[in-house]
């Protein structure tokens, strides 16, 4: 029977374990990829990172996106989920259907949609602002160093809002109705019910999604940036993974690129651990 395990184990080992180990191993070398010249340099790659302004900037951008997107998406997702479960909205299923759509679209499609919306001349956003005679609010959404990171953040929120809403809805649906009835009799307003009842009771679910937020902020921002801005203008929307990719392929510094990979790996792991520690509470039962 153990032979049943073999194909899966081989595939898993060859295409996941070996490459993962290689990320760590290669980060200790300088190597341009295709030449046989591969030199062991120890932690030199990591030392260089500290002086690399572009890396520091990519790191800052990643953290900024992580914080902004998590706060906005979680807040809006919780709010929407609470409304959809607590108030019997007419057309609830239709809203849920529509809000989840971005989650089945590919990131390239989302990048293309947003590039079309952000287009300076013929885009939906500036066009609408012109139509409303709000010309002053028009922006070069993807070409302005001060604006571009927010433009990427909006696309990220757009993509993931429905996903988190559905997750929160399914855990809110498990809260017994009697608790709400009892608190309503005590005179609690919907807002108070949300903070005193709903939030504490889905706390564990919230903690889990924080880990998802950390991982998806790192990954999603990379693919969006890769397709939408290429890190520009002038590195102002560069994120960690896109910088790693650039170093590896464009610059052919595979060792250096992999050192960036190790840093991202360690960073997401540590942040997940910290967040999980900081949000630990006694679990509440219904």
């Amino acid at each position: 029977m153990l032979v049943c395990l073999l194909p899966a184990s081989v595939l898993f080992a060859v295409f996941m374990i070996v490459p993962t180990v290689n990320v760590f191993r290669m980060s200790l070398y300088t190597w341009s990829g295709f030449s046989p010249d591969m030199r062991f340099v120890g932690l030199d790659n990591f030392r260089h990172l500290l002086d690399d302004q572009q890396f520091v900037r990519a790191f800052q951008n990643t953290i900024a996106l992580l914080v902004v997107v998590t706060v906005v998406t979680m807040g809006m997702g919780l709010f929407l989920a609470a409304i959809m479960t607590r108030q019997r909205l007419r057309g609830r299923n239709l809203y849920r259907f529509v809000l989840y759509i971005p989650n089945v679209l590919s990131v390239v499609v989302i990048a293309a949609i947003f590039s079309a919306m952000y287009d300076q001349e013929n885009g939906l956003l500036n066009g609408t602002l012109r139509l409303l005679s709000l010309d002053g609010l028009q922006q070069v959404w993807l070409g302005d160093q001060k604006v571009v990171l927010y433009s990427v953040a909006i696309a990220m929120v757009w993509q993931s809002l429905g996903y988190y809403m559905v997750l929160y809805m399914s855990s809110m649906a498990g809260i017994p109705e009697e608790l709400y009835e009892a608190s309503a009799l005590d005179g609690a307003s919907p807002a108070r019910q949300f903070f005193a009842l709903t939030l504490p009771l889905i706390w564990e679910n919230l903690r889990t999604t924080l880990t998802f937020f950390i991982m998806s902020a790192v990954n999603l921002s990379f693919v969006l940036v890769r397709a939408m801005t290429g890190g520009g203008p002038d590195g102002s929307s560069e994120v960690l993974l896109s910088y790693m990719y650039k170093q590896a392929y464009t610059n052919s510094s595979y060792g250096y690129g992999m050192a960036i990979g190790v840093v991202i790996f360690a960073f997401s792991f540590l942040v997940s651990l910290l967040v999980s520690r900081a949000t630990r509470r006694e679990p509440l039962q219904f």
């Binding site: 395990l5 295409f15 939906l124 693919v223």
Partner: protein, 297 residues
């Protein structure tokens, strides 16, 4: 009304709140729907209609954009590549994961804890980190096979891409299937064994049909992951043969530079419509699957 202490009827204040929250939900739903609808509509515009206000409707339905996208921009060909890669990836992942999940769920063997632990850790390894080493490894394999396959075998091979897709989704797939197999009572297998069925037969004719909901969930999530993937396909198929997503990115870069949008919007619709149709059919199942632990960011 006979009792005096009945709860107060709802006052106007909560009702105003309800209207306000309803308005917000509608606004957010529109913020999702309008851009998608706008793309569908814009795909039918003529070149001259892209300038000026973006809110104008196309004067007539200009289907030439689609012909251009399918033929000139090769989106039709890329579509077939995507179908092939996705289907083969699903075959691969099911063929290796179902037996493995069954063994892990039902048999005690030495090192089972270790296998489970490795798979659990695999859930957290994101392919974006390891795509570079995978690429370099395949290049290396190609180099050692240069006498047999001078043109290279592993890079630019859609079947190899499917294999990599399957490998990277093994942890998630086995995780879900194992949990489901464990929830099926052992009595069914015992009964089949008493009737003289072999272990293999029990797996294929008893367990697999019972695990159909889990298998469907796995197919759905992996389908979306393979169909929508962009980074692995971009890296492993650098030549002429591309998947739909990579083709769209190329179209996107080319048409933007030429300020010629019709073909680009038509290309986007070609990518969007199949997933939207699928989603409309299976949305309940997808969302249930997600809530029941088939979550994947």
């Amino acid at each position: 009304m006979t009792t005096i202490n009945s709860p107060r009827p709802r006052t106007d204040r909560p009702r105003a709140g309800r209207v306000l929250t309803h308005v917000l939900v509608v606004a957010l739903a529109l913020a999702i729907a309008v851009p998608v609808a706008w793309v569908l509509l814009a795909s039918l515009k003529r070149k001259s209609e892209f300038f000026g206000s973006p809110w104008t409707l196309p004067k007539s339905l200009h289907f030439q954009n689609y012909v251009d996208a399918f033929v000139t921009a090769h989106m039709g060909q890329y579509f077939l590549t995507s179908v092939f890669v996705t289907a083969l990836g699903l075959v691969f992942v099911l063929a290796v994961s179902v037996p493995a999940a069954y063994v892990i769920a039902r048999y005690e063997f030495r090192g089972r804890r270790l296998v489970e632990l490795a798979l659990l850790a695999g859930l957290f390894v994101n392919v974006n980190y390891i795509v570079v080493p995978i690429f370099l490894m395949l290049v290396d394999w190609d180099r050692s096979l240069i006498d047999v396959f001078p043109g290279g075998f592993f890079i630019d091979n859609p079947a190899v891409l499917s294999l990599v897709y399957a490998a990277t989704s093994i942890p998630f797939t086995i995780y879900l299937l194992t949990a489901y197999f464990r929830s099926i009572p052992v009595e069914y297998e015992e009964a089949a064994a008493l009737d003289g069925a072999s272990r293999f037969r029990i797996m294929t004719t008893v367990m697999l049909p019972m695990a159909r909901p889990a298998v469907t969930t796995v197919i759905l999530f992996n389908f979306l992951a393979y169909w929508n993937d962009f980074i692995i396909a971009l890296t492993l198929l650098p030549g002429e043969g591309k998947t739909l997503q990579v083709g769209l990115l190329n179209l996107f870069t080319a048409q933007k530079a030429a300020a010629d949008y019709g073909r680009l919007y038509a290309g986007m619709v070609i990518v969007i419509v199949p997933v939207l149709l699928l989603y409309a059919v299976i949305q309940r199942r997808l969302i249930e699957g997600m809530a029941s632990g088939g979550v994947k960011g």
